[in-house]
Amino acid sequence: MNLTLKIWRQKDRNTTGEFVTCQARNILPDMSFLEMLDVVNEDLTRSGHEPFAFDSDCREGICGTCSLVINGIPHGGQKGATACQLHMRHFRDGQTITVEPWRAKSFPVLRDLVVDRSAFDHIIASGGFVSVNTGGAPDGNALPVGKVDADQAMDAAACIGCGACVAACKNASAMLFVAAKVAHLGLLPQGQSERYQRVVKMVNMMDQEGFGACTATGSCEAVCPKEISLDFIAQLNRDYLVGCLKP
């Protein structure tokens, strides 16, 4: 396959970027989107040009590092999949593909397609943990957890923190991310003692980092590679209300 790419080029955080057009030649349909970019980058390097910087790590949809908006959709629009799991067979030979970084004030572009997602780390550091005394590992079933709660906590914990929710949201809101992180701890017995302080701290940090608010449009849920449900946002709204009203 041969494709035309319109890719975002930006030297560093302080320069304004622009779209550049380049050709992707001899692409196999079985390559992933990132492997296609690797081929493009090798061609560029061979011809003495600067390759495009993009983030990736696991390349199997579990780390949340890859972060590309492909033809206007974060991760490219394959349901429940990240950009690294998207294969070139979903594209047509000769097609033009637009590739952009996540766009949000809180996710500044560092270079080309790489954005700084430290804002998420700050949110986690503000309260996304449980304080436990370390020591010997507790017995496996010493603390019973109901099946429904366990399943829901697991669904929320599937969040890989990629930031596609922010990228897709018309308000660049991080609510789905924060909701998932609040829920997977808040649903489990270990997370109860800090439940309400946690949600207040994390939401306030989210505001401070400059993310937008939620309009419940559902775009985040639609692009989430882990298909995290909007229901967790409702749960977050409820917990935050309780947290703020608690004496």
Binding site: I73, G77, K105, K170, V200, A213, L230, I233
Partner: protein, 230 residues
Amino acid sequence: MNPLAFLFRTSLGKKYLMALTGFGLFAFVVVHMVGNLQFFLGREAINRYAYFLHSVPELLWGARIGLLVMVGLHVWTAIQLSAENRAARPIGYKRKKALGSSYASRTMLMSGLIIGCFVIYHLLHFTVQVPEVNFTGKDFHDLVDAEKHHDVYQMMVTGFLQPWVTLFYIVGVGLLCLHLSHGVSSLFQSLGLRTGKYTPLLKSFGFWMSWVLVIGYWSIPISVVLGLKK
């Protein structure tokens, strides 16, 4: 945190305010429609209803001030949040596909602002009855029925015989229901009540309520335009 500070300062607090005032306004809009539909019971019924509403000025003004406060808070939070939301993405996308979101949900601010203009016009037209805005050359204050009460029935019929005025009502109410087709279920989401099995229930409640409202409100000007009510 001080509960009031959190309502007015944090993004979620503003969303609660928006949802609570949105719910209050939604409830008003439903009651207002049911009241208006007495138009179809005839001149006497709707005029008596209007007379009843005006009979206790303390209650009338209580309700009006309550509504004004709700509109004020709703619009204030809407504008604040929209400004913050816009600031959260200074550089937009070259290509953007809106996945999983409804048209109504993406245009809440626009539909809201046009509804705001419509509400102001509506108040000048039928509440304050400024003669200059009804474009009929008549003063609605002069319309009285057999019992010497204000003839609301005649005012509606006369008012809706102006095509441009009627068109604005059709558009205004249509946008209100578009706003509510997302707003009603979203408000439960904002208040943390839309989870699990309630999600589909609340979504269809919002959907059907906006259809009921649009048909209920539209039926009056349309029946006048079609000459069914004279």
